[in-house]
């Protein structure tokens, strides 16, 4: 079961986890990324490349399902304007064994950071700036290359 969603509505983590639990497998892992108020960020705006985003997320989920024999993989990404504390991204996996669920979850969030066409803009007062690429994200994604 693959569930992909790019949405401007709040992410319902309980509903997503419930669906993963019902997918069978017995082991469910999740990662949730929240807007941080680092250095006074007041608003985070997420832009994306429609259709290409969904395709990138679907491809990652399909790769994870195949590589870790998952029962299910879910990737939900918020777009549009958000404030600190709101959920930006939810990644969840269901598998027969805990190591598969946890590793696949780490894979999905690491690779999403470099492979899916999203861009963040932070606003602090009158100052709006686009977030730059992080070397650590590239390194994290690279560790999943085989």
């Amino acid at each position: 079961m693959i569930r992909i969603r790019v949405t401007d509505a709040a992410i319902d983590v309980a509903a997503e986890l419930g669906a993963l639990e019902r997918a069978g497998g017995g082991a469910v892992a999740s990662f949730t990324g929240l807007v941080r108020d680092d250095n006074g960020v007041e608003e985070l705006f997420l832009e994306h490349y429609p259709v290409a985003t969904e395709k990138a997320l679907s491809d990652l989920a399909a790769e994870a399902i195949q590589r870790w024999s998952l029962a299910a993989a879910t990737v939900i990404h918020r777009v549009g304007a958000m404030t600190p504390g709101e959920r930006i991204v939810f990644v969840g996996t269901a598998a027969a064994h805990r190591a598969a669920a946890l590793e696949a979850c780490a894979f999905l969030i690491d690779r999403l950071k470099t492979d899916a066409p999203f861009w963040k803009r932070e606003t602090r007062g009158q100052d709006a700036r686009w977030v730059g690429e992080r070397d650590s994200d590239r390194d994290a994604a690279d560790r999943w290359k085989r």
Partner: protein, 86 residues
């Protein structure tokens, strides 16, 4: 060459001032880098957004590609900064 849908995202979109346009590059332009130079030569926001190719990434028909990728037969080309989602 046929008309191509050009898409711009993030600060590339903001500098150019639009997110989407259709354009017909001259036949001698073979790759994404050549397309970027051709667009940058329009000056103004284009030159500002597209002058430094090291800051740019591209997708041809929604597939991420290096800047030396061919644009032959492309219907949609997107230009944008490195992605920062998640």
């Amino acid at each position: 060459m046929a008309a191509i849908d050009l898409l711009y995202f993030a600060w590339v979109r903001e500098s150019i001032g639009i997110g989407h346009e259709r354009a017909t590059p001259p036949a001698e332009i073979a790759d994404v880098a050549g397309l970027i130079d051709w667009l940058a030569a329009r000056g103004g926001g284009y030159a500002e957004a597209l002058g430094d190719k090291t800051r740019l990434r591209a997708a041809v028909d929604q597939l991420f590609v290096p800047l030396d990728a061919s644009i032959a037969g492309a219907r949609e080309i997107a230009l944008f900064p490195p992605v920062t989602g998640g």
